[in-house]
């Protein structure tokens, strides 16, 4: 009888260990999802950064009265390249999005620029990247929310405490920045 009870105990213990392993692996995969979704944002940030010098080069001949604006976006691009933390990148990303919107809005005052095919192509490309960025920011925040909810809910809470899984920061974007950049093509 004692051996039966011992075997039952061992089986229950094995089931519990397997369950803990599943929870642990699931938390690890959530953590990796967050890193991956951040990398996916970073890729687009880099692609957008690469387009900025082309944009400045294209518009500078037309927008002679907007030198400060062009200087500002060039500085922001440099800051984005040099920033490493999530909050820093989020802040600079907001600033770049805002400057790009201003450039595209101001371009309305320059009909010759609006007729430039290269500019229209760049505007289209950057708008596409901005839209993808907004989707990926949303995806990143969804990944973080799922992870944060998991580590605060039963039974994952215990595993998270034991193995030191800490809450992650959301990619905060100003409400104004959430709006899609509109093109007039």
């Amino acid at each position: 009888m004692a051996s039966v009870l011992l075997t039952i105990f061992l089986i229950l213990l094995t089931i519990l260990i397997i369950y803990i392993i599943i929870i642990f692996n699931s938390l690890i995969s959530l953590k990796n999802n967050i890193s991956k979704s951040w990398s996916n944002i970073d890729v687009l940030l880099k692609q957008r950064s690469e387009e900025i010098p082309n944009l400045v080069e294209t518009v500078k001949g037309y927008m002679k009265h907007e030198k400060s604006l062009l200087l500002e976006i060039t500085k922001e691009r440099t800051s984005l390249i040099n920033s490493s933390s999530l909050s820093e990148k989020a802040k600079v990303d907001n600033a770049i999005s805002s400057s790009l919107k201003t450039i595209f809005a101001v371009s309305e005052k320059y009909p010759k620029l609006r007729a430039n095919e290269n500019f229209l192509k760049l505007q289209n490309r950057i708008t596409g990247l901005e839209n993808e960025l907004s989707d990926r920011r949303e995806f990143y925040n969804d990944s973080v929310t799922i992870y944060n909810t998991r580590i605060q809910s039963f039974p994952d809470l215990f595993i998270a405490k034991v193995f030191n899984f800490n809450a992650k920061e959301l990619f905060r974007v100003l409400e104004e920045e959430r709006k899609v950049v509109k093109t007039n093509i």
Binding site: Y19, L133, R136
Partner: protein, 244 residues
């Protein structure tokens, strides 16, 4: 010796069912843990998407039993067999059309290759050979070399089930986003055109369902609980008899 064989069989079956239960639990958590992607900004790797079906190259096909216009179909043919007290439906044929199609959401569309996917569609048609064997079914059986009679010339009892996907049907997909082999790399303007959803080399999970995500999660949860209970009980019973 005979007394030991059954507990061993129950034990192995119990452990296998418990393992399957844990696997279902793992899939349930994977679905819960994967946020839904917008098709426009899909990234490579395991993705979850939701949208409506659009035919690939306007390709509309006919379903095998009802001849309905559709984008994709799957079917099963089962035979009723009885031996002594045992009576059950045995699966004798199962197949899918495997046609590629697009899934579209409010941001874009992406190509889906349903090959090797676990497909869970709502049943659209079911009939038995005793009730009705339409000309379509007879023609289909002839093409597939399946006879309606057994070797004694007696009519078999067959059950035909059809599952179809029509244009604009809603679908939930958990699969791997990888390069679209039909498009030259980076040749398209939209990111999603370069991508095809398929069964991944590293992610074995590829699930296509006409159910909503919450229903899929409930289904996996229900299956995991049932399998774990049966598996654990069977293992305990086996141990109990083994120890006697």
């Amino acid at each position: 010796m005979v007394n030991v064989i059954w507990p061993i069989i129950w034990g192995i079956t119990g452990l296998f069912i418990t393992y399957t239960g844990f696997y279902q639990l793992k899939i349930k958590r994977l679905i819960e843990n994967t946020p839904t992607s917008k098709i426009r900004s899909i990234a490579m790797g395991l993705v979850e998407i939701f949208g409506e079906v659009i035919p690939f190259n306007k390709e509309i096909i006919k379903s095998p039993f009802t001849n309905t216009n559709c984008v994709f179909y799957s079917y099963t043919i089962e035979e009723y067999r009885s031996s002594g007290k045992n009576r059950k439906w045995i699966l004798i044929k199962k197949d899918t059309s495997n046609n590629k199609f697009y899934l579209k959401d409010e941001t874009g569309q992406v190509l889906i290759d349903p090959n090797k996917a676990h497909i869970d569609l709502n049943k659209t048609y079911q009939t038995e050979s005793e009730k009705d064997t339409s000309e379509n079914i007879k023609q289909f059986l002839k093409e597939k070399n399946i006879s309606l009679e057994n070797f004694l010339g007696v009519n078999k009892r067959l059950k035909f089930t059809e599952y179809i996907l029509k244009q604009k049907d809603k679908l939930y997909i958990l699969g791997t986003a990888a390069d679209n082999p039909l498009v030259e790399e980076e040749s398209s303007v939209e990111n999603s055109n370069d991508i095809m959803i398929q069964r991944g080399d590293f992610n074995s999970v590829y699930y296509i369902s006409s159910k909503h995500e919450t229903e899929v999660i409930k289904k996996y949860k229900r299956e995991a609980i049932i399998l774990l209970c049966i598996g654990i009980i069977l293992t305990f019973i086996s141990l109990f008899f083994f120890s006697r």
